[in-house]
């Protein structure tokens, strides 16, 4: 079982079991991790599922590269960092066991 670690805007840590085939966004939303709003449900139309992938995990997850994701990231409320991703575009894989992402305080 893969576990994703979310550090929420208050600094609290949420360890959430995640199934391959889901996305980092869906795992967070379904278990109620605070701060990931994902209003459009993963349609790349809201930019409110923004997360910061921790530096040591950027290679595994990949930096944002898709043109549409990059354009939508530009609409994210919080400052962008090298690890910024729209979490609806990050599918969960086994290599991500223990992945740590930080949730920005401002999403929407």
């Amino acid at each position: 079982m893969t576990t994703i670690v979310y550090i929420d805007p208050d600094g609290l840590r949420h360890d959430v079991p995640a199934e391959a085939g889901s996305t980092v966004m869906a795992v967070a939303v379904k278990s109620g991790v605070p701060g990931i709003v994902a209003e459009c449900g993963g349609s790349l139309s809201c930019a409110s599922c923004h997360v910061y992938v921790e530096p040591e995990w950027i290679d595994v997850v990949g930096a944002a590269a898709d043109e549409l994701e990059l354009e939508m990231l530009d609409g994210a409320l919080a400052e962008l960092e090298p690890g910024s991703r729209l979490s609806c575009q990050v599918p969960v894989t086994e290599e991500m066991d223990g992945l740590v992402v930080r949730v920005p305080a401002d999403q929407i």
Binding site: A26, K30, G32, E39, C40, S43, L44, C46, E71, D74
Partner: protein, 393 residues
């Protein structure tokens, strides 16, 4: 609403009652990925099952409240049960508008609003060959695109002179007409349905007022939704094509708030206008406002409306509300299926419809949320970056 109440610190009991048998789920994929069977029903659920008891939010599923007694603080269910409350939130949504013509009760005349509808429609779609879609709004067009992607023959009929007439400018309507036709959907405008024909209880065709007859083994009707206001009316609340609420989501009774498709309220863009917004964004943002009101921490609804529609590879993102526009400026070329229509009322930026132009969408959405406008000089020139035209207040 329930989730926001807990986030705002409400510690007391919360009961979420719904007539549908399913735990809360997202509707937008029902006319998109789910209809194409590219998403599972599990992926639609808004929260995992354990979330609700962990948050101490009691779910009463498959329970229809059919009467509210504000005086006694009781909600009576269809089976005669009673739920006591101090404060009440009505998020009753809307029901589909139904055809009332002869033949409307035939089998395989289907609607699309709920998960059950979508399951029924997806099954019927796989067995059908000739689909007629009645209604050229977002639901009709999304479903037509889904059906066509499954190799079905699709004809869409719209009573008004253009597609999505209630929400977009003529140039955008025309774009969709051509784009769908290019992809093989037959579209007939200014066509009213007079009746449906059937054999052995199942639909076989659609008769149009112009005289044309369309053979069909499946008819999908997408002619709009009607807000569910019966409970509000029974409780004596003010209702006017929706449950009337103010900018803090309060109904005409201080104990009751309402949010989402069921409400009518002062437009965030033009407070003298009352609007009913049929969107996920409104449901979510208005519910947050309503929750804040229930927590005695009222804040006015100020969120910039936005909306999206995915039809094939045509991604539409709308920022703002274009009602009342007097000018539209096109950026990009509709024939290239990448363009933005920017709506103005005088000098005031109202909205933008962005087709496959997400960068423009985020720029306009941000500008609207900041009360900014855009300069018209250079707006129709793609070599001028849109961001450079934004004028802060």
């Amino acid at each position: 609403m329930a989730v926001s109440l807990r986030e705002l610190g409400h510690a007391g009991p919360i009961t979420l009652v719904g007539a549908e048998a399913h735990a809360p789920y997202q509707r937008p994929p029902l006319s998109k990925a789910y209809l194409k069977r590219e998403a599972t029903s599990e992926s639609l659920s808004l929260r995992e099952e354990t979330f609700w008891p962990k948050q101490q939010i009691e779910l009463r599923l498959g329970v229809r409240v059919h009467e509210v007694d504000l005086g006694r603080g009781r909600a009576r269910t269809a089976l005669g049960g009673e739920l006591a409350f101090d404060r009440l939130a009505l998020t009753t949504g809307a029901r589909v508008r139904r055809l009332t013509l002869p033949g409307a009760e035939l089998d395989n005349v289907l609607y699309l609003r709920s998960l059950d509808d979508a399951d029924h429609l997806a099954a019927a779609l796989s067995a059908a060959e000739r689909i007629v879609v009645v209604g050229g709004g977002f639901i009709g067009l999304e479903a037509a695109a889904a059906a066509r992607s499954k190799g079905k023959q699709v004809t869409l009929v719209e009573a008004l002179p253009r597609l999505i007439m209630r929400a977009v400018a003529p140039v955008v309507s025309e774009f969709y007409l051509q784009a769908h036709r290019r992809r093989g959907t037959r579209i007939m405008l200014s066509e009213a349905v007079t009746h449906l024909e059937g054999r052995e209880g199942r639909v076989t065709g659609v008769q149009l007022a112009s005289g044309a007859f369309l053979h069909a083994d499946l008819v999908l009707v997408g002619i709009g939704i009607v807000p569910r206001t019966e409970l509000a009316e029974s409780a004596g609340l003010e209702v006017r094509d929706g449950i009337v609420v103010d900018r803090c989501a309060r109904t005409s009774d201080p104990r009751v708030v309402a949010a989402g498709d069921c409400t009518v309220f002062p437009s965030p863009m033009a407070p003298h206008d009352m609007v009913r917004l049929e969107s996920v964004q409104n449901a979510v943002d208005q519910a947050k406002v309503a929750a804040a009101t229930l927590m005695d921490q009222p804040s006015e609804y100020a969120a910039t409306p936005w909306f999206w529609s995915d039809q094939d590879d045509l991604k539409l993102q709308i920022a703002g509300l274009s009602n009342g526009f007097d000018d539209v400026v096109l950026r990009g070329e509709p024939l290239e299926e990448r363009f933005t229509a920017v709506y103005f009322q005088g000098d005031r930026l109202l909205a933008a419809d962005c087709v496959n132009r997400a960068a423009d969408y985020v720029t306009i959405r941000r500008a609207l949320s900041q009360g900014a406008t855009v300069r018209r000089d250079g707006l129709d020139d793609l070599s001028v970056p849109l961001k450079s035209l934004v004028v802060m207040p």
